[in-house]
Every structure is written in structure tokens, then in C-alpha cells.
């Protein structure tokens, strides 16, 4: 019995060995069936999308320049000091107590607030992930984004 148990533990250890050889947050790009899109987050379950976005934010270098398609709800952040407005696609986790989002820049000529719906509207954003520095901090955003507000379409 004891020998069998020790064998079981060793088996578990050996089967886990590939993890020891992995680098922190290896670049992983889930396959996308949408042409021109490298990472399609809109077709995944909420739990997986939250984890994938977390990975993107923790290791952006592996994802910079990739075209990402994501669905979530639209939100804004108004910076009164710099007189700027930032738009983002937010994805809540399954417990709905945490949320992560990626800022986007809508391609074309769009004026805020005339062309934008109320915050909280469901949105699908497809754009290229880029980084930028502002105020000494690095940020990520999706540029040249194709933005589809779902409820505004229905209205």
C-alpha cells in the first residue's frame, strides 16, 4: 500500500514536470475562426474570457500588434484634469465583483457624446492591441477599432 502510494505521488510529480519548464505567461494565442482576427474572445465563456484578458494585461508583450475581438459592456472614464475621455470594453468575472477591461479607440470620425450610447451598453470591439505611455505609466488600448453597440442597433 505504502509503495503504491509513493508511486502515485511520484507519478503526479512527473506528470506535472512540464510546468516546471514553462516560462512565466507564455504567449498563447487561441485560434480564431473570424478572418483578420488573431484572438476572438467573443466566442468564449465568461470565465475563460476573464482569465484570458487577465493574461493579456499581465503579459502584454506577447499580444501587442495582435487583432483582438471582444464583447462586454461599454464604459467611459472622463479625465477632467486633462479634459480627455477614455472608452473601454469591460468584462466582469463570474462573481460579478471584479471586472477587467481594455480601452479602445473607435476608427473613423465619431464625436462624444453624440455618437456614443449610454455606458453599460453591450458592445463588440475588434481592434489591434497597442501600448502607450501617459503620465509616466504604460497603458494598453485597441486602436483602429471596429465598434458595434448591440442595444443601439436594436433600438
Amino acid at each position: 500500500m505504502k509503495q503504491l502510494s509513493i508511486l502515485l505521488v511520484l507519478l503526479l510529480l512527473v506528470s506535472s514536470l512540464p510546468v516546471f519548464a514553462m516560462a512565466e505567461y507564455g504567449p498563447f494565442l487561441p485560434l480564431s475562426s473570424v478572418p483578420g482576427v488573431d484572438i476572438d474572445l467573443s466566442q468564449m465563456s465568461g470565465t475563460v474570457v476573464y482569465a484570458q484578458v487577465y493574461n493579456i494585461l499581465m503579459d502584454p508583450q506577447a499580444y501587442l500588434g495582435k487583432t483582438i475581438r471582444m464583447s462586454g459592456y461599454y464604459d467611459i472614464y472622463e479625465d477632467s484634469v486633462n479634459n480627455a475621455v477614455y472608452f473601454s470594453c469591460i468584462i466582469p468575472d463570474a462573481t460579478a465583483c471584479c471586472a477587467q477591461g481594455i480601452e479602445f479607440i473607435w476608427a473613423g470620425d465619431h464625436t462624444y457624446p453624440d455618437d456614443y450610447p449610454e455606458p453599460g451598453t453591450d458592445v463588440i470591439v475588434t481592434g489591434r492591441l497597442e501600448s502607450y505611455t501617459e503620465g509616466g505609466y504604460d497603458y494598453l488600448h485597441l486602436v483602429d477599432s471596429d465598434v458595434v453597440f448591440l442595444t443601439s442597433e436594436l433600438d
Binding site: S5, V9, L12, V19, T47, V48, N55, C98
Partner: protein, 278 residues
């Protein structure tokens, strides 16, 4: 779709860590349930929450280096306090449990620089998707600690068995029961800290209690209950992780819900079969 999700590294990490934590917690769960220490897991998980709050306030880059020793020390003190002072077992656990929870939240409220305090607290208490956001470094640490826990359990299986069932007799037979109680407390603390990633600190007790209680519906020998508990725990954990990924439900509470369902099924089975088996 499940096959696609299984290609994601973070899903694989979650399955590896979830399986190991479930295995470790179920093995020690049998001992804790039999020693009437079911709630020690709950108390220690709240201590771990408090330690995590302190680590967050101190801006420690690796929380585990602080949370693990702090929880182990609390486990040892809890065991000592329960034995030697006027504040006995359940009262000591209850005091430490709510005390650590309150102090942890107070520290976070006063000193945390996080933009999403309620999110951080909720994530720590209920696990959220933290099992799906593990780094390879955290997975490695979990594997090493799990192997240590399993090895300790296997090597000292007979002694743990003796201390669990009849501590007085074990002491009379020359077994250093204090040392083994200390060992059990340390191992429990390690499991609690590991399991916080899987189900969050409020739901850890379920991982420890439910598999053991389900196994006890059908089996009566220590070995039978331990093996059945381990198999049930790993199966429920895997099922919970996969269901939560497919159905977009919170991982921790889904695992606990599966454990509850299995407990109900085993209770009905025990009634139908007319009792337990060796």
C-alpha cells in the same frame, strides 16, 4: 468547445492545481472530521485572509512568503491554545476566525491602494477566477507543497491513524501525539493557503468536510473512507472547474455545489444499501 478550452495553459494549470489541492484537502479532511476539528479549516482560512491583507498593505511582491508562515504559526498557536488554556477548542477557533477576518478587512479599508477594494475582498473570500489566473511559478509552488503534504500523509499514515482514533491510547503506546498534532496543524495550514486559490477563504471548509462526510455515508474503515474521499474530492473538483468554465459560473461555489450534490447522492445510496461498508 471543451477541447479548445483544454488547450489554454491557464485551464491546464487550474486542473493540475485543483486536482492536487482536492487530493490533499480530502486526505486531511478525514482526520479533521474524525477529530471534531472540522471548523479549524474555516478559522485558519480567515487567518490566511488577514495575513493576505497585511501582505497587501505592506506591498509584498509575493504574498505566499508571508501568508504561509503566518497561517502555520496560527495553526500551531490555535492547537496549543485549545489544549492548554481556559479558552477551549471551538471558542478559540471562532475568536481567531472572526478576529482575523475583521482585522484583515479593516487594514484593507484603511491602507489599501487598490482601485477595486470590494473586488479584491470578494475575490479573496470566494476565489472568483483566481484558480484560472495562476502563474507557472504559483503552480510550481503548489505542486511542491502538495507533494510534501502527500508524502507526509503517506509516511505517517499509521501514526496519523492512531492519533486520530484514540489519542490517549496512542500516547500510552509511546506515540509522540503532541508532535503529530503539531504536524497535522502545519499540514492543514499549508493546505488552507493552497486552497484559497481554488475556492476562496470562505469556502475552504467545504473541500475539507464534504468529501469525507460523503465517503463516511458508504464506508466505515479509515482506509476505505480515505480512498473514497480522495477519489470524490478530485472528481468533484475537476467537474466543478469544467462546469464553471463551460457555464461561466464562479469556480469555487461550483465545486462546492458539486460536492453538495455528491453528498446528497451518497446519503440516498447509504439509505438504499442499508448502511456503511468496510
Amino acid at each position: 468547445m471543451l477541447a479548445t478550452y483544454l488547450t489554454f495553459p491557464f485551464v491546464r494549470y487550474a486542473i493540475i492545481v485543483g486536482t492536487l489541492i482536492a487530493l490533499c484537502s480530502s486526505l486531511l479532511g478525514v482526520t479533521l472530521v474524525l477529530k471534531r476539528f472540522s471548523f479549524i479549516g474555516d478559522g485558519l482560512s480567515h487567518v490566511a485572509f488577514g495575513a493576505m491583507a497585511i501582505a497587501g498593505v505592506l506591498h509584498l511582491s509575493n504574498n505566499m512568503l508571508f501568508v504561509l508562515p503566518f497561517t502555520v504559526l496560527s495553526a500551531v498557536l490555535l492547537l496549543r491554545t485549545g489544549q492548554n488554556t481556559r479558552i477551549k477548542g471551538d471558542a478559540a477557533i471562532a475568536m481567531i476566525s472572526v478576529g482575523a477576518l475583521a482585522v484583515g478587512y479593516l487594514l484593507l479599508s484603511l491602507f489599501s491602494t487598490s482601485a477595486n477594494l470590494s473586488g479584491d475582498v470578494c475575490s479573496t473570500l470566494f476565489g472568483s477566477t483566481s484558480i484560472l489566473t495562476l502563474t507557472p511559478g504559483e503552480v510550481r509552488l503548489c505542486i511542491v507543497l502538495s507533494v510534501v503534504v502527500l508524502t507526509v500523509f503517506i509516511l505517517f499514515y499509521n501514526k496519523i491513524f492512531a492519533v486520530t482514533f484514540d489519542e490517549t491510547f496512542a500516547r500510552a503506546a509511546g506515540t509522540p501525539t503532541d508532535a503529530f498534532n503539531l504536524l497535522i496543524a502545519i499540514v492543514i495550514a499549508v493546505i488552507i493557503v493552497l486552497a484559497m486559490n481554488l475556492v476562496g477563504s470562505l469556502l475552504i471548509s467545504a473541500l475539507i468536510i464534504f468529501p469525507a462526510m460523503s465517503a463516511m455515508r458508504l464506508f466505515k474503515s479509515f482506509k476505505g473512507v480515505t480512498i473514497c474521499s480522495a477519489v470524490l474530492s478530485v472528481t468533484c473538483s475537476l467537474a466543478g472547474i469544467l462546469i464553471s468554465i463551460l457555464a461561466s459560473t464562479p469556480v469555487g461555489s461550483t465545486i462546492v455545489a458539486v460536492n453538495i450534490a455528491v453528498f446528497i447522492v451518497f446519503s440516498i445510496l447509504a439509505k438504499c444499501l442499508g448502511g456503511t461498508h468496510s
